[in-house]
């Protein structure tokens, strides 16, 4: 009797609306996803002791043709004292492998859509209840909407088949945190503009120039009106010494947003550096007249260019 009451209480406070909705629309044949999908090609690295972080990361990047062992990743993402890995370090280690980690929108539908498109998703779960947390990283590699199941490479189990509703609960406790690892230049189906811009900014810190340019250009192609992506693209060119392409990138940006002062400022400096003072002056003046947060910098740019006449 007590057991029944406890069970009822627990059932009452846990609902899994996302799973229910997905399963209902699949049953009605109105969902956009394939009914089932499994990425068999994703390798499996069983974890040692508490090291789910390195194991999950090695698993995630395997389809990109990278064969790194959890052992090699251990120093980068495992903190012995805490017997675990930090989320930020999981992303950083992915970048060091020259792949672009992008957070997915925090919904079950997004997660399944990524799998359906061929991208495994590294997820953080809390397998225990709130008062006995058991944080865990796993890689979602498959699902079956008719059976209501998700397939994870998890811990020491190659195919950990979990009911979708149970997964929704354990994943929710991490705030539905998960990411895909893209080849630079690759875009995935569910990417949001905001997540891509944020991911790219971090990626550019350490990526080789050609990869950085590939990733930035892919973003510009998908979201041509995004000023930040175009600024980053120009920076990747300038960083690699290709000032001609950098200039072109700033000019392209200005076609979309003629009143974007930072682009006028940067273009003015590029032009001035290669002796096109007249053109440089025009853009520097434009930046000053537009003003904004960096108005002081624009005035300094204009002053410098004027002094070169």
């Amino acid at each position: 009797m007590v057991v029944l009451m406890v069970a009822l209480l627990l059932a009452g406070c846990v609902s899994t609306p996302q799973s229910e909705q997905l399963l209902a629309s699949a049953a009605a044949g109105s969902g956009e996803l394939s009914l089932s999908r499994e990425l068999d090609e994703v390798a499996f690295y069983p974890q040692d002791a508490y090291q789910c972080g390195p194991a999950a990361l090695a698993t995630l990047v395997s389809p990109a043709g990278l064969s790194v062992s959890p052992e090699e990743l251990k120093d980068e993402v495992y903190i012995p004292d805490r017997q675990g890995s930090l989320q930020a370090e999981m992303l950083a280690a992915t970048r060091r492998l020259q792949l672009l980690p992008v957070l997915i929108a925090p919904t079950l539908a997004t997660l399944l859509a990524e799998i359906d498109a061929g991208n495994p998703v590294l997820v953080m779960q809390n397998l225990g209840p709130g008062w006995m947390p058991n944080w865990h990283y796993a890689v979602a590699v498959g699902y079956d909407l008719q059976a209501g199941e998700i397939v994870l490479r998890s811990g020491t189990i190659r195919r950990r088949v979990t009911p979708l509703s149970v997964f929704e609960n354990t994943w929710r406790r991490s705030g539905f945190w998960g990411f895909v690892a893209l080849q630079p230049g690759q875009l995935s189906a569910t990417l949001t503009e905001q997540h891509y811009v944020a991911a790219l900014a971090d990626y550019l810190e350490h990526a080789e120039n050609t990869r950085a340019t590939l990733a930035a250009r892919a973003g510009v192609t998908r979201w041509p009106g995004n000023t930040l992506l175009r600024m980053m693209l120009a920076e990747t060119y300038a960083g690699g010494g290709d000032t001609v392409s950098a200039e072109a990138a700033y000019r392209d940006l200005l076609e979309y947003h003629p009143e974007y002062a930072p682009a006028h400022n940067n273009l003015a400096l590029l032009l001035s550096a290669r002796g096109e003072q007249q053109q440089a002056l025009q853009h520097a003046r434009r930046a000053v007249s537009l003003g904004g947060r960096y108005a002081d910098e624009y005035r300094a740019t204009l002053k410098e260019i004027q002094s070169r006449f």
Binding site: R172, V197, N209, L228, M231, G239, N266, L269, A300, R308
Partner: protein, 127 residues
């Protein structure tokens, strides 16, 4: 690596375009870095989120009961510096995650944070 190159590029500009003379000035001619621009955008999004939190009916009611004029709280959020907005947002992100509706504990903590903003309390040291 790339960004290191970009920084070198910035320095190159500073060296070429700012020859002496400007030692007394704090602003130099410089490329505007996209990371700065991104940061600016992130903070303005965070500020908008804070404002919408303060505007929520349950939050505003709690604030009123504690003697804080919600309109005043709005004005305070608007006048926070960027660094303060980011620090506050971090405190809020550490609240226990709920599935949409804020739980009771989260709401209490949120109210405490907002009271800090309004200058009634001084609990969260980073702000």
């Amino acid at each position: 690596m790339k960004n290191a190159n970009f920084r070198k590029f910035l320095i190159y500009f500073l060296v070429i375009l700012v020859p002496g003379g400007s030692l007394c000035s704090t602003v130099n001619a410089a490329m505007i870095d996209s990371r700065l621009l991104l940061q600016e955008q992130v903070v303005s999004d965070q500020r908008a989120q804070l404002l919408s939190l303060v505007a929520r009916e349950d939050v505003a009611r709690q604030l009123s009961e504690l003697g804080v004029d919600p309109v005043n709280a709005q004005a305070r959020v608007a006048s926070l510096t960027d660094a303060e907005v980011s620090a506050l947002q971090q405190n809020i992100e550490r609240l226990p995650a709920g599935s949409g509706a804020l739980g009771t504990i989260a709401l209490v903590l949120l109210i405490l944070i907002l009271l800090d903003i309004a200058g009634v309390t001084d609990i969260f040291p980073k702000v």
